[in-house]
């Protein structure tokens, strides 16, 4: 009897296990699809929330600069301009320094120091945005106001054409200070991605160049950088994506003024700073939708930048796999 009973029991258990397997696999897949759907849900919700503003202002929202909650007239230009300019300043400062750090860590640093220094640089990325903001407001802004800004006003401010960028009184708070803070914040991202891609250069290539008598600087410029170009650009774009969406630090130091000023020393605003400052106080039929449309614009810009970064890094990966 047992000889017959056993197979059915086993078969029953097998069926249960197969059922459990299918259940487990489909549950994990459902969650994966859920994560994917999240992105579209964010996009959809923002689009829906912004609809009143989109239909009221149309595309002119993008290039008008009025921002008048009382009259319900809104234009995104100052915020978009501020977002792009602060991010540009940040990248201008962070990219050379980040490349320098990556070069130091891969070529110059004694091996036993690599991990500790790399970790310390990465810890810069762990410090929350709000801490950068309070530090920028109370420490960096006064320092810039006393030293760097009067200096650039006196020197660069007198050069024709460029001078416009550095005109006006040194207020401490403004677009330039926001760019400085953002530079510090994206530095660890640029540095660590660049270091990681620098390490993918085959030792053979590097050593061949050294063997032919190249100096360290020449190896980095002529071997490492050309080999890792795609990855370095990917790392920079990743940093840019962070800089564009950064909120709290910028809100503290940019001065929050809805206008497009030629001078980098003047106060301005960014998309995220406008949202942080005004959203909870937005009353009226168009105020909140206009702010949500700003959020939508920010999301679309960062999506494009991050997607481009990811594609570049993927290209590097697939090349390495070959």
């Amino acid at each position: 009897m047992t000889a017959i009973a056993e197979p059915t029991a086993v078969r029953g258990r097998m069926r249960r296990q197969r059922l459990a397997d299918a259940l487990f696999r489909n549950t994990t897949r459902a969650f994966a699809i859920g994560v994917m759907a999240l992105l579209f849900a964010v996009l959809g919700a923002l689009l829906l929330g912004a609809m009143p503003a989109i239909s009221a202002f149309g595309f002119s929202f993008l290039w008008t600069s009025a921002w008048n909650p009382v009259k319900s007239v809104f234009g995104a230009l100052p915020a978009i301009y501020g977002t792009l300019v602060t991010s540009a300043i940040a990248m201008l400062l962070a990219v050379p320094v980040g490349l320098g750090i990556a070069m130091f860590l891969t070529e110059l640093c004694p091996p036993w120091l690599r991990r500790p220094i790399g970790t310390l640089i990465e810890l810069l990325a762990a410090i929350p945005s709000i801490i950068y903001g309070i530090w920028g407001l109370f420490v960096l802004a006064p320092v810039l106001q006393m030293t760097v800004q009067p200096f650039v006003v006196d020197t660069l401010g007198n050069i024709p054409l460029v001078g416009v960028l550095f005109a006006g009184p040194p207020l401490g708070l403004g677009v330039l200070t926001a760019g400085f803070i953002l530079a510090v914040m994206v530095l660890p991202f640029v540095a660590s991605v660049t270091r990681d891609v620098f390490q993918t250069v085959p030792a053979m290539l590097r050593e061949s160049a050294y063997g032919m008598g190249a100096t360290t600087a020449e190896v980095v410029r002529r071997i490492v950088l050309p080999y890792t170009r795609v990855g370095v650009v990917g790392g920079i774009m990743l940093g840019l994506g962070r800089a564009l969406g950064e909120t709290m630090a910028v809100t503290f130091v940019i001065g929050n003024a809805h206008r497009v000023s030629a001078s980098l020393l003047a106060p301005g605003t960014t998309i995220s700073a406008t949202l942080a400052n005004e959203f909870t106080e937005a009353v009226g039929d168009l105020y909140a939708p206009a702010l949500i449309e700003l959020g939508l614009i920010l999301f679309v810009i960062t999506f494009i930048v991050l997607a481009a970064a990811k594609l570049l890094l993927l290209r590097l990966e697939s090349r390495d796999a070959k």
Binding site: Q17, R18, A20, D21, F24, R25, T28, R29, F31, A32, G34, V35, L38, L39, V42, A45, L46, G49, V97, G98, L99, G100, I101, F104, E107, T119, I121, L123, A126, I127, P128, S129, I130, I131, G133, I134, W135, L137, F138, V139, V184, L187, A191, T215, T216, A217, V220, L244, E246, T247, M248, F252, L275, F279, T280, G295, F299, F303, A307, K310
Partner: protein, 280 residues
Amino acid sequence: MTLYGRRRLTNAVILALSFVATAMGLLVLFLILGTLLVHGVPALGTALFTQITPPPGGRGGLANAIYGSVVMTVVATLAGTPVGVLTGTYLAEFGRGSAIASVVRFINDILLSAPSIVIGLFVYEVMVVPMGHFSAWAGAVSLAIIVVPVVVRTTENMLLLVPAGLREAATALGAPRWKVIVAVIYRAALQGMLTGVMLAVARIAGETAPLLFTALNNQFFSPNMNAPMANLPVVIFQFAMSPYADWQLLAWAGALLITVAILVLNVLARWIASRSIATQ
């Protein structure tokens, strides 16, 4: 100058610049930590943990904000971690090479860097507007959305590190797939997955932007998850931007608390991760 001399000079200059760049990066880190210590330490004391946020000019602490931050961080982690682990499991175990998996991986990496203020707007639209009021639940949900991509990423990476031999051995013993994953793979990758969760907690502990439109803030102690709740980041934001010296002092104290907690979590997570790789 000879060509050789010029090349050596260029090299020396560039190497010096790279050294200076690294020194600058480290300097900024120590400057920030130093400032926090200088301003924050004088404000530390038992009142910070026992009294609630004061009105301007009054005496008080950050007890309600600390409570709110801890509660929302815990709820967000508890909600976000299972979603992240299951998604990561799909990517590493079932979806290898499939089109869905690569799309999910791509989108997850974008969510990982997406501006957190947009997440706040999203949760405002889908939770605060329908409910009609700000609430700690909405705050926790927006933080959970930030937890998910971090956990997905580390879970997938850690599961991929588990040697294929373990999977094959367990399967050869007749274990069904789910049992292989839950009882063998998860156990082997546990330390790494824990690191991911710790990094996620560190990430959300200081997040301010998504809480502005969701949990808002509360001047009083309120354990009600269905009402606005005080939390450290938003209190720091409000107090630091205020003109009152005693509020600013509390902001520095809060900033010090958050930063120390986050750095400790980060260093601990890295230490666990390096140990788990070393033992494999």
